[in-house]
C-alpha cells in the first residue's frame, strides 16, 4: 500500500477531490475494454496541468511507484490496466482544445479531449481529422496517440501517427520534453515523435498534442455490396486497389454479423447473404461520382449479388450505423469473445479468409469476420460460452493459429489495438529478437526505474 504521506503529497499536487482512494473507486480503475485483465490501482489522480503531471512523476520516480496513464479506458489491449497497483494517472479532466488554426491547418489539444468532441469542433470550421478508431465517442486523444489508433478511414488517410506534428511529454523523471512542432516538414535530428505514437504509455505521459488537419472532403458516397462467396469479396477488394482506386473506407461484414444486425435493427439486409462490403468514396463531387461508378462496375464484374449506391446521406448512415453495431453483435454473442487484430497485406485477403475457414473447422470454434477489408485488418473474432479450461486452452490455440496464418502471409500481430497485456506472449514470434532488445533499451533510456506503465508489450 502507498503510505499516507504519498497520498497527502498527491492531494497537495492536484487537490483532494482529484485523488481517489476508496476501494470502490479503485475497483472502477482496474479494467479497460478487454474481458479478462483486472488489477486495482492504489490511488487514482486527475491532474489538470502539465506542471501537476511533472510533480506527480517526480514523486513517483523518487519513490519508485508505478504509474499507469489512462484516458477513458476504452482500449482493448489491457494497456491501461495497472498491473502493479500504484498510481493510475487519469487525464479525463485535462480536456481543453487549446487551438485550432485554420490557416496552418493544425490543432493543439490536451490529452483528455474526447475524439468526438474534437470532430464536432472541427466540423464547424469544415476541417477534418481522419483517424477514426471506433471508440471515437469516448476515447481520449492522449490514448489515441499512445496507441497509434486506426479505423476504417485509414486505408486512404493513414493512421494517427501520420497526423502528429508535435508533442509535449512528461518523462518519468518529471522532465517536460517538447518534440516536433507546428510544421508539416520537420527534419531536425532524429524524429522522436513515432516513439510516442504507439508507445502504449510506457515512455512518458503525453500532455499536449499538435495535430495536422485537412479540409473536409466536399462529397461522400456509400456503396453497399452483397456477396455469396467471401473469398470473392476479398478478391474484389484487391482488384479495386489494383485498379488505382483508394476509397475512403472498405469494410467487411460476414453472415453472422449481417444476421445479428438485421435482428437488432431491421434495415432490410438479406439474412442469407454470406458477406457484405461497405465502401465509401469521398472527395470532390465529380471525383466521387466517377469513382463510385468505377467501384460499382468492379463489384458487379467481381461477382457481387447486389451492388448499390446509397441514394442519400440517410441511407448511407443506416449502413454505417449497422457496421458500428457489428462489434456489439459479436461481443454479446457469447461469454468469452476475442476480437483478433491481426492484419495481412491487402492482396492476400482472399488467402487469409480461406485459411481462417480451415482453422475454424480444425479447432471447432466459429470465426466471425468484421473489419477493415481495405487495409487487411479484418478482425477475426473467436468466441465460446464454455468455462471449461480445456475449451479455453483450445481457444488460445485457435488464436495462435490465426496469428501464425497471418504471419505466414506476410502480416502482423496487431494492426491497431496494440500489444499491451493481451498479446505480449506472442510478441517474440512477431518481431526480430534484436528489435525487441532495442525497444527495451529505448525504454531504459526514458524510464530507468521502470515505473512507467510497466509489464506491457513484452514479456520479461
Amino acid at each position: 500500500m502507498l503510505s499516507p504521506g504519498i497520498i497527502a503529497q498527491l492531494e497537495k499536487i492536484v487537490g483532494k477531490p482529484s485523488v481517489l482512494t476508496t476501494k470502490e473507486d479503485l475497483a472502477t480503475y482496474s479494467y479497460d475494454g478487454t474481458t479478462t485483465w483486472s488489477y486495482a490501482p492504489e490511488v487514482v489522480v486527475f491532474p489538470t496541468s502539465t506542471v501537476q503531471i511533472s510533480e506527480i512523476m517526480k514523486l513517483a520516480s523518487d519513490n519508485r511507484i508505478a504509474v499507469t496513464p489512462r484516458g477513458s479506458g476504452t482500449n482493448i489491449s489491457g494497456g491501461s490496466v495497472p498491473t502493479r497497483g500504484g498510481i493510475v494517472l487519469c487525464t479525463t479532466k485535462m480536456n481543453r482544445i487549446l487551438d485550432v488554426n485554420k490557416a496552418n491547418l493544425t490543432a493543439t489539444v490536451e490529452p483528455g479531449v474526447v475524439l468526438q468532441d474534437f470532430y464536432t469542433l472541427l466540423a464547424k470550421d469544415n476541417l477534418f481529422y481522419p483517424p477514426d478508431p471506433q471508440s471515437y465517442l469516448s476515447c481520449t486523444m492522449g490514448g489515441t496517440i499512445a496507441e497509434n489508433s486506426g479505423g476504417p478511414l485509414c486505408i486512404k488517410y493513414g493512421v494517427t501517427k501520420h497526423y502528429v506534428l508535435g508533442l509535449e511529454v512528461v518523462l518519468p523523471s518529471g522532465y517536460v520534453m517538447n518534440i516536433g512542432g507546428l510544421t508539416v516538414k520537420n527534419r531536425t535530428g532524429y524524429d522522436l515523435l513515432p516513439l510516442f505514437t504507439g508507445s502504449e504509455g510506457t515512455l512518458g505521459i503525453i500532455t499536449k498534442i499538435t495535430l495536422r488537419l485537412i479540409p473536409k472532403p466536399a462529397a461522400r458516397k456509400t456503396i453497399m455490396a452483397i456477396f455469396d462467396d467471401m473469398t470473392l469479396a476479398g478478391a474484389v477488394v484487391s482488384s479495386i486497389l489494383a485498379n488505382g482506386i483508394v476509397p475512403a473506407k472498405i469494410e467487411f461484414v460476414d453472415n453472422f454479423v449481417i444476421r445479428r444486425i438485421e435482428e437488432k435493427m431491421q434495415i432490410g439486409l438479406p439474412v442469407d447473404a454470406n458477406t457484405m462490403l461497405l465502401i465509401d468514396a469521398d472527395g470532390s463531387l465529380a471525383a466521387v461520382e466517377s469513382e463510385a461508378e468505377h467501384i460499382l462496375e468492379l463489384l458487379k464484374s467481381g461477382g457481387a449479388r447486389i451492388a448499390r449506391l446509397a441514394k442519400d446521406e440517410a441511407e448511407s448512415l443506416v449502413y454505417w450505423k449497422a457496421r458500428s453495431a457489428g462489434f456489439a453483435a459479436i461481443y454479446s454473442a457469447a461469454r468469452t469473445v476475442v476480437a483478433e487484430d491481426v492484419t495481412v497485406p491487402r492482396d492476400r485477403l482472399s488467402d487469409f479468409i480461406k485459411k481462417l475457414d480451415e482453422i475454424s473447422k480444425k479447432f471447432g470454434f466459429p470465426i466471425v469476420l468484421i473489419g477493415h477489408a481495405g487495409d487487411g485488418n479484418i478482425h477475426p473474432s473467436v468466441f465460446t460460452n464454455s468455462r471449461e479450461k480445456e475449451d479455453l486452452d483450445r481457444l488460445e490455440d485457435t488464436l495462435t493459429a490465426i496469428f501464425e496464418a497471418a504471419l505466414e502471409l506476410g502480416g502482423t500481430l496487431s494492426g491497431e489495438h496494440g500489444i499491451g497485456l493481451e498479446k505480449k506472449r506472442l510478441l517474440s514470434k512477431a518481431l526480430d529478437p534484436m528489435a525487441i532488445e532495442v525497444m527495451k533499451q529505448i525504454k531504459a533510456i526514458f524510464d530507468p526505474n521502470n515505473i512507467m506503465n510497466p509489464d506491457k508489450i513484452w514479456e520479461v
Binding site: 481517489l20 476508496t22 476501494k23 470502490e24 473507486d25 475497483a27 472502477t28 480503475y29 479494467y31 479497460d32 475494454g33 478487454t34 474481458t35 486527475f46 477513458s72 479506458g73 476504452t74 479525463t92 479532466k93 480536456n95 483528455g112 474526447v114 468526438q116 471508440s135 465517442l137 469516448s138 476515447c139 437488432k264 458500428s324 453495431a325 462489434f327 456489439a328 453483435a329 461481443y331 454479446s332 461469454r335 469473445v337
Partner: protein, 426 residues
C-alpha cells in the same frame, strides 16, 4: 460477504453480463459528462455490481452512494451497442442495499410512513400549507415530485404551494362524459401526488378533456403515490409492493389508466418488472401495466384526436414554445412523437425543437437530493439548449423536470416559464 443475500441482483445476472465494457456510455452519460470519473459512469456502476456479486466489494455507504449517482435517464442503454440496461441493474442493486443496510435517514422513514399512506401525506401537507405563507417562503411555480418534496422538507428546499382543497375533494369518483354522451370507454385517472395536492386544477383539466371526448373517467379515492421514489429511487421494494397492490386494487374494470405525469406513467408500468415476487402479482401487475397510457399517448394514439382538437390556452398564444423530453416518457416508454404532434398542431404559438431536447435535465428524483450541485450542473447544459432556441415557454410533462428547469433557467440563464403540457392546452 457471501452471507448477504443479493436477491434482486440475482434476477438480473444475465443483464449484468451484457455490458462488454466498451465505454461508449461515457459520451452520453450525463453524470460522467460532468464528473469524468468512472464510478459515475454506467460501465463503472455495472462493474461495481459485478464486484459486489463476486464478493470483492461489500455493501456499505460508499457503494450505496455511488449506485445512487444515476438519474436513471436510460441514455446509456439507448446508445449502448449491446443495449445493456444498466439503470435497471442499478435499481436492483439499490433494492439489495436497502434491504441490507436500509436507506439514508430520513428517506426510509418518510417513504415507509408517509408516502405509502396518502391520507397521512394529505394531513401533513394540509398542515404545512397553513404555515407556508408565514414560516416558509411562498414559491409559486416551484414544484417537484411530492415524495422528493417531502424528503426535501428536511433539507430546507423550495416548497411548492399546497392547494387548499385537494383534487379528490373537488371531483367525484365517477365522471360521466359531457352532455349526457354515451361513454366510448371507461378510463381510470391516476392523478399523481402533484395534481392531487398541488395542482388540482390541472387534474380537473385532464378529466374535463377526457369527458369532453366521450370518456367516462373514474378517479378512485383509494389510489396512492406511484412509488417511484420509494422503490426505483431508494430500492425499498417492500413498501413499493404495498403501494403497487393498493393502486392495482384501486383501478378495477377500466379500459385504460391515464396519467399526465411522465414519472407516474413509467413507474406504474414498472411494477411488473421490479416488484412482482409471486405469480399472482406478476399477472396482476402485468395486466395493470398494460393499461397505462400517458395522456399524450392516450389523446393521440387511443382517441386518435385530430390536430384541430388541440388548442392553445390564452396564456401561451403568440409565444415561442419548446419541448423538453422527460426521460421517463422518451426513453423509458418510447413516447417521443405524441407530445410533439400535439404541440405542433397548436395554432397561434411558435413551436421550436431545441437541440438535445431529450437530454436528461439532471433531476432524477432522489438523485438530486443526494447530489444537488451535480444535478444543477447537468441542468445547466439543458439551459444552454433552451437559450439556443430562446423559447418563452418550456413545455414538459413531468413535475420533477418542471421544478428542475424552473430553477435552472433562473440560475443559469434568462428566467423562463416552464409548464406542463396539459397546462398550455385550452
Amino acid at each position: 460477504m457471501k452471507s448477504i443475500k443479493l436477491t434482486e441482483l440475482a434476477k438480473v445476472e444475465k443483464e449484468i453480463e451484457q455490458c462488454m465494457k466498451c465505454g461508449f456510455c461515457a459520451f452520453v452519460c450525463p453524470v460522467y459528462q460532468e464528473e469524468k470519473v468512472e464510478a459515475g459512469l454506467a460501465r463503472g456502476k455495472n462493474e461495481l455490481v459485478k464486484r459486489l456479486i463476486s464478493g470483492e466489494l461489500e455493501i456499505n455507504r460508499e457503494l450505496a452512494d455511488r449506485l445512487h449517482k444515476c438519474t436513471a435517464c436510460m441514455t446509456c442503454t439507448a446508445n449502448c451497442p449491446a443495449k445493456a440496461p444498466i439503470p435497471r441493474i442499478v435499481v436492483a442493486a439499490r433494492a439489495d442495499i436497502a434491504s441490507s443496510i436500509g436507506m439514508r435517514f430520513p428517506y426510509g422513514f418518510i417513504y415507509r410512513n408517509i408516502l405509502a399512506k396518502r391520507n397521512v401525506m394529505g394531513r401533513l401537507l394540509s398542515l404545512s400549507s397553513l404555515f407556508q405563507s408565514t414560516l416558509m417562503p411562498k414559491t409559486n411555480g416551484f414544484l417537484r415530485h411530492m415524495p422528493d418534496f417531502l424528503s426535501g422538507l428536511v433539507k430546507g428546499r423550495q416548497i411548492p404551494s399546497v392547494a387548499s382543497k385537494f383534487l379528490h375533494r373537488q371531483l367525484p369518483e365517477v365522471n360521466r362524459p359531457a352532455g349526457g354522451m354515451r361513454p366510448v370507454m371507461r378510463v381510470g385517472y391516476f392523478s399523481g401526488c402533484m395534481n392531487e395536492f398541488v395542482l388540482p386544477h390541472l387534474g380537473k383539466k385532464v378529466v374535463d378533456i377526457l369527458t369532453r371526448h366521450g370518456v367516462e373517467v373514474v378517479m378512485p379515492k383509494a389510489q396512492g403515490c406511484c412509488g417511484a421514489a420509494v422503490f426505483l429511487g431508494a430500492g425499498d421494494f417492500k413498501t413499493g409492493r404495498k403501494m403497487a397492490d393498493a393502486n392495482v386494487a384501486a383501478f378495477k374494470d377500466v379500459d385504460y389508466i391515464v396519467t399526465d405525469c411522465a414519472t407516474c406513467s413509467c413507474t406504474l408500468t414498472e411494477y411488473s418488472h421490479f416488484l412482482a415476487d409471486t405469480p399472482e402479482r406478476k399477472e396482476a401487475y402485468g395486466k395493470f401495466g398494460s393499461k397505462i397510457r400517458h395522456i399524450t399517448q392516450f389523446l393521440t394514439d387511443v382517441l386518435q384526436l385530430p390536430a384541430s382538437a388541440f388548442m392553445a390556452s390564452a396564456e401561451v398564444k403568440g409565444k415561442k414554445i419548446t419541448w423538453h423530453d422527460p426521460c421517463h416518457l422518451n426513453r423509458h416508454l418510447g413516447v417521443k412523437e405524441q407530445p410533439r404532434r400535439i404541440l405542433g398542431s397548436l395554432e397561434g404559438v411558435q413551436y421550436l425543437e431545441m437541440p438535445n431536447a431529450d437530454r436528461c435535465c439532471g433531476m432524477g428524483g432522489q438523485f438530486n437530493l443526494l447530489n444537488y450541485e451535480l444535478s444543477m450542473q447537468i441542468a445547466q447544459k439543458k439551459v444552454e439548449s433552451i437559450e439556443a432556441v430562446d423559447a418563452d415557454i418550456v413545455v414538459t410533462a413531468c413535475p420533477g423536470c418542471q421544478l428542475q428547469l424552473t430553477e435552472a433557467t433562473n440560475r443559469f440563464g434568462k428566467p423562463r416559464k416552464v409548464m406542463g403540457i396539459m397546462e398550455i392546452l385550452d
